[in-house]
């Protein structure tokens, strides 16, 4: 295999791996190549990245080699985290789900279902405008009653709350046991009586 290919392979490996790769490690991975050729490929890559002077740099660090983004661009990269689709925490998602399916619902009902204090989560969902306060329950303490908002519908691309898939619809995706009580079907008149095999 040509040096160019080996160079490409090493570059692919450096790209995929998020930690520094040592020559030893590379030699271990690429058994069919000579250690000296791998070293040469690394040198070529170092030269290539130096010359390219681009948004990716190849650094020697911790005894190994690592591709990194250009340090000068760090400010821009930090912006990525900001807009990175933030995954809901499990507790936020659960709380949102309970309100969506059980609305109108009070905090104590949410907490009863979740088994944990949910005040903070409810507050943060209110701040994100995914929930809204529907009113106050007419019982001692007048607890707030929560429901989902228009923003909630938008987030999940729902026309209205009735477009929310019911649990039944999801559960129906898994057939209970289609073979449980299959009626015996006479397949062919002449074969039917001779064959009675339980399956």
């Amino acid at each position: 295999m040509s040096g160019k290919s080996l160079k490409n392979i090493v570059e692919s490996l450096l790209f995929v791996y998020d930690q520094p790769l040592t020559l030893d490690r590379l030699a271990g991975l690429l058994e069919e190549f000579e250690r000296s050729d791998i070293r040469e490929a690394l040198n070529q890559l170092v030269a290539k990245y130096q010359e390219a002077d681009g948004g990716i740099v190849l650094v020697q660090v911790a005894g190994g080699y690592q591709l990194r983004s250009r340090p000068e661009n760090a400010d821009y990269i930090r912006r990525l985290t900001k807009g990175k689709g933030v995954k809901f925490s499990q507790s936020a998602l659960e709380t949102l789900a309970i309100v969506a399916y059980r609305q109108p619902v009070t905090r104590s009902e949410v907490e009863y279902l979740r088994g944990v204090d949910s005040g903070g989560v409810l507050k943060s969902l209110l701040e994100k405008r995914l929930l809204k306060i529907l009113g106050k329950k007419d019982v001692p303490g007048k607890p707030l009653i929560y429901g989902t908002s228009r923003e909630f519908l938008e987030l999940f691309d729902l026309k209205d709350i009735s477009a929310l898939p019911t649990l039944k619809e999801i559960e129906e995706l898994v057939p209970p046991d289609p073979f449980a009580d299959q009626p015996q079907l006479p397949l062919e008149p002449d074969a039917a009586e001779s064959e009675s095999i339980d399956n």
Binding site: L93, I98, L158, I161, S162, T166, K168, P178, N199
Partner: protein, 273 residues
Amino acid sequence: MVEQNPQSTLFSDPLEPAYLVNLEAFEGPLDLLLHLIKKNEVDIYNIPIAAITAQYLEYVELMKELNLDVAGEFLVMAATLLQIKSRMLLPPDPDDEEAAEVEDPRAELVRRLLEYQRYREAATTLVSRDLMGRDVFARKFLAPDRAEQEPEQEQIDVELFELVEAFQRVLKRAPVALFHEVEADGISIAERISQVLDLVRVTGSIAFEKLFVETATRPLLIVTFLSVLELCRLKLIKITQVQDLGAIWLVANGEGEGPGDDEELALEGAVVG
């Protein structure tokens, strides 16, 4: 296994062992039929229905002998094949001028087989592409300093299915029998509550019976009834009876004091979304 079974004479051509191993692997009746068509090297547009049906039934029997679960779909297809076979045996009606024009009994089956084959080929093409995680790889995103996030600029990245899953999780853990996902005609209690509350809020009060007039199905009656109970429990509505044995009325809570801020709030909430 087949050899030990006296019924193995049933098979006109002995099944190659490799095939036995694959028996389970058929995705369904269409997959099995395509296999038989290929194996017999017959024209898909002119399937020798009697022969193919016989072989199909043999395989289904074999599955049973091997104690494989024969899914209902295989049996339905068996019935379909037998029906096509018998229709093809019928002599053409001499009185029917258009008999020759009548659709080939095999036509729909052939269309389904072709369509199925088309998607199977598409699946093969798909999987031969450069698959992420198999042929090509991206880097893991190592988020820099998360502390700089500004919450109000977060883009929320969530799928509807995750919401449903979350609720399922809650239900699994939740204290038993608190509520069931009762629903009727696709309407859950939550939705029905919202509808009932809506009705009551808009009209101020509504006769209890009126909620049930148009609701023909029993499940919907139950859902409606449970919704009313839930609304009472939440004290969002009141149930009143003007005289003994008179009509029962559902009244929006707070209605007696006249429309106020409270009502407005609740009204907004009633029409969720």
